[in-house]
Symmetry: C2
Subunit: 430 residues, 2 copies
C-alpha cells in the first residue's frame, strides 16, 4: 500500500507458462493491488531466435538464466525452466544468494531439493514460492500452507496429473488402448514426447511430495514417495472396474500415520459417484481432510498456460504484499524429514485381476489361495472377454494388510493356470 514502487521481474523460461505470464504482466502491470507495478526487466530462454507467438524484442535478454537470476536489474526471479537440476536449480540458487525472492513452477526442483533451497532462502531472508508447481490453477499450496495452518491435516488425496487423467478418461470413453490414446495425446501436445514423467506417476509424485511436506510440517522427501504409474492399467481393467461400480484414477495421496506419513501415487478405484471418479479429462481434483475443518474438495485445471501463469502471478503478488513465512511450515533448519510408514503395516481394500486358463479348478485355486492368506473377498466378477487369451477373473477384497495381500497375489501369480502378471489396484479410501 506504499504505492509507487516498481517490482522488476526476471523470467527464465519462455514456454507456454512464460508466455502466459508475459501476457498478464504486459496487460496489467498493476495486477498486484498491494503496491506499485510489476514490470518485466529481463528474460532468458534456451533460444533467443526461436519463433514465438509473442514479441520479446523489447525485453532485456540474458543468455544465461543464472546471470539473469543474480542481475541487479531485477527484484524478483521467476523460474519456468523446469527440471530438478541443471540451469533451473543453479538459477534459483543464484537468485536466492543474491537476496531476490524466487517464484517457481518447478515441482521436481521443490520435491527433490526443497529442503536445501528452503534453508538457503531463509538464510538469505527471501521468500521462495511455488504455488504453480502443484495443480496449476487450483491453489492447493496456499490452502494447505495458509488456510489450514490452524488445523491438523490428516490426509490428502487427489488427481494431480492431467495427462494421466486425460488418458484414462479417453480409454474409457473411446474403448481404445493405453498405447493408442497416449500416441494421440502426444500428437495433440497433451503428453510429452517422453511420457514417462507423467504416465509413470513421477509428476504426481513430485506434487504430492510437496503437499505432504506442507501438510505434515516436514521437509519434502521425494525418495520416500512410492510411485506406480498407469502403464499397467488395461482397457480390460477399466471395463471390469466399471462393472463393479468403480472408475480407475491415478491417485496421489498422503496420510499421516503415527509419527510418519505414507506418501504415494498409484492407480486407485473410486466409486462412480465419487467426486474423484467424476473429475474427467485433464481436470485435477483434491480432497484435504483435517481434524477441525473436515473435508475440503477442490477441482480445476491442473495445467495449461493460463492457469499456471495465474498461479505464478499470485506468488508474485504475495512477494509484493510482503508476506514473510517459512518456505514450509516451520523454519527450514528445524524441519524433520518426512518419515515413511512401513507399508506392510498399512491396510487396504483392493481390486485384483487375474487372467487365467479357461479350465476347471482355476477359480477354486485362486480363491483358496486368498482364503488361506486370510483375504476376504467382497465382490467377484468373471466374464468372457472377446479376443482375450484366457478368462479374466476380477475381485475386490475387504480391508486387509497390504503385505498379506501382495504375498497372496504373488502366490497366485505363480500358479500354472495364471497367464499374465496379476493386477492389483487399491480402492481409494478418501
Amino acid at each position: 500500500m506504499s504505492g509507487g514502487k516498481s517490482w522488476r521481474i526476471g523470467i527464465a523460461g519462455l514456454g507456454t507458462v512464460g508466455a502466459g505470464l508475459l501476457d498478464i504482466l504486459s496487460r496489467r502491470p498493476d495486477f498486484a493491488p498491494a503496491s506499485g507495478l510489476a514490470v518485466v526487466r529481463g528474460v532468458s530462454a534456451r533460444s533467443r531466435s526461436r519463433p514465438r507467438p509473442f514479441d520479446i524484442s523489447n525485453l532485456p535478454w540474458f543468455d544465461d538464466p543464472v546471470v539473469l537470476a543474480a542481475s541487479p536489474e531485477i527484484d524478483v526471479f521467476v523460474e519456468l525452466i523446469g527440471g530438478s537440476d541443471g540451469p533451473a536449480k543453479a538459477a534459483v540458487e543464484a537468485a536466492l544468494k543474491a537476496g531476490k525472492p524466487v517464484v517457481t513452477a518447478n515441482k521436481a526442483l521443490i520435491a527433490e531439493h526443497g529442503a536445501a533451497l528452503a534453508i538457503l532462502a531463509e538464510d538469505c531472508g527471501v521468500p521462495l514460492l511455488f504455488e504453480a508447481a502443484v495443480m496449476g490453477g487450483v491453489p492447493a499450496v496456499k490452502i494447505v500452507r495458509e488456510s489450514l495452518v490452524g488445523d491438523e491435516i490428516q490426509s490428502i488425496a487427489g488427481i494431480l496429473n492431467g495427462t494421466c487423467n486425460y488418458i484414462l478418461t479417453e480409454m474409457e470413453a473411446t474403448g481404445r488402448s493405453f498405447a493408442d490414446v497416449l500416441a494421440e495425446a502426444q500428437r495433440l501436445g497433451y503428453a510429452e514426447a517422453d511420457p514417462s514423467t507423467d504416465v509413470g506417476g513421477f509428476d504426481a509424485a513430485h506434487k504430492i511430495t510437496i503437499l505432504a511436506a506442507l501438510a505434515f510440517g516436514c521437509a519434502p522427501n521425494f525418495a520416500a514417495t512410492e510411485v506406480e504409474g498407469i502403464e499397467q492399467v488395461e482397457l480390460l481393467d477399466i471395463h471390469m472396474a466399471r462393472d463393479l461400480g468403480y472408475r480407475i484414477k491415478l491417485v496421489a495421496s498422503a496420510d499421516r500415520s503415527g509419527d510418519g506419513a505414507l506418501v504415494r501415487v498409484h492407480p486407485s478405484l473410486a466409486p462412480l459417484s465419487h467426486p474423484l471418479a467424476q473429475a474427467g479429462g485433464a481436470l485435477n481434483a483434491l480432497f484435504i481432510e483435517s481434524s477441525r475443518t473436515g473435508r475440503i474438495f477442490v477441482q480445476g485445471p491442473g495445467a495449461g498456460a493460463g492457469p499456471t501463469a495465474v498461479a505464478v502471478a499470485a506468488d508474485i503478488a504475495d512477494v509484493i504484499a510482503g508476506v514473510r513465512r517459512p518456505v514450509f511450515q516451520a523454519p527450514a533448519r528445524s524441519l524433520p524429514l518426512s518419515q515413511p510408514v512401513d507399508p506392510s503395516k498399512m491396510m487396504c481394500r483392493a481390486y485384483l485381476r487375474f487372467l487365467v486358463k479357461d479350465e476347471p479348478g482355476v477359480i477354486a485355486a485362486v480363491s483358496e489361495t486368498l482364503a488361506e492368506a486370510g483375504v476376504s473377498i467382497e465382490s467377484f466378477l468373471q466374464k468372457p472377454v472377446e479376443g482375450a487369451q484366457g478368462v479374466p477373473i476380477v475381485l475386490t477384497t475387504h480391508n486387509v494388510a497390504e503385505s498379506v495381500l501382495t504375498a497372496a497375489v504373488d502366490r497366485i501369480a505363480s500358479l500354472a493356470a495364471v497367464l499374465d502378471q496379476p493386477r492389483m489396484f487399491r480402492i481409494a479410501r478418501i
Copy 2:
C-alpha cells in the same frame, strides 16, 4: 521469521466459533509458523458467568468489547460478536482506530459496512481480514482475493448457506414440508430461533456481496444484491424438478456484465449430475470462473465451530506473517461501488410451476400466454399429485429475457383457472 514476539489476541464473542478459536490457541499458540506465539490476552462476551464447556477464568475479562478492542493489552482484535451494527461495528472501529489489526467472521458487518471499514483500516494502516465470513472452512475469500489476482473473474456461483441446503436436502430425502424440516432444524440447533436471515437468503446475500466485491474490484454493495429465499420452495417443486432432472438449491451468484455486476441469491435448479446438485446437507460449494484459469470448484463445510475457527486462525496467521494488501482489491478510497445490472436485460432459463383448476382449456391458456410473450418451452410436465388442490403444471423454458418471462408469469397468475401464486425458479447457468 524474526521469532520470539508474542502476539496478544483479544477475542470478543465466545460462542461456538470463539470456543473453537480458544481451543486452537491454547493447544498450539505457535500455530502460525512465521513468528512467535499467539496468546489470548483478553476476552469479552455478553455474559461472563454463563455456563460454558471451557474455562475462561484465567483469561482477562472485558465487559465492554469496545474497551477490549482498544486495549493496550492486545495486538490483534478478533470480532466474533456478529450483527452488522451495534457492539460488533463499534468494537471493530475502535480496534482499527487504535491501530490494531482486525479479524472478523462477521459477514453482515463486511457486506453492509465493508467500504467504510476498509477506508478506516487503510487510513490507520492495519489489516482487516474476514476469511471466516464466507464459507467457513473453505477459503473462498483467499482464493478470490489472492489466488486469482492475476486473472479476471467473470462469475461466481454457489451454495453459501448451509442451513438452507440442509433444509432442501432433508425435504427431498424425507418428503417432509419446509415448515416441518425447519422446525426440526431449529430443535437440533442447525437453524436459528429467528430463521429469516438464513431461509430468507440474507446470509447468503451477505456472503456473495463480499465475494463479488473482491472478484470485481468494487466496494461491497449489499443494497444492490437481489435476495430471494427458499420459503417459496414447496415439496411439490422439489419432486417436479427432480422428475425433470434437476435439484433445487439456493444459489448465490455474481456475474460480471459490462461495467456492472449482477449479484443475487435465489432458488435455482441444477442438473442432478451437477456438482452443486450433489452438494447435500450443510455443505457449501462454489464455482469461480475466470478468463485465464477457467473453472475452479471448491466444496466443504460452510459453518461450524471447527471450520470457522480455523478460518479465523488463518487470518491471524496472515496478520502475523505481515501481509499488507488493500482490504478489497484496490485502495479503499479508489473502489467504485459495485453497479447493479438492470435485471430486465438479463436472460435466463427458468422452471415455472402453476397450480391450476382441473378443467378443459387451462393448459391451452397457459401455453398460449407464454407463446404470445415469445417464451419458448423446453420441457413440460403435468401429473396428478395426491392431496393437492388442483393440478400442478410444470415447465422449463429456453433462454428468455427475464423481464419478458416475469411479465408472462404475471399474466398467467391473473387467469381465473390459476389457483396459487406461480413459482418461477431460474435454472443455474454455471
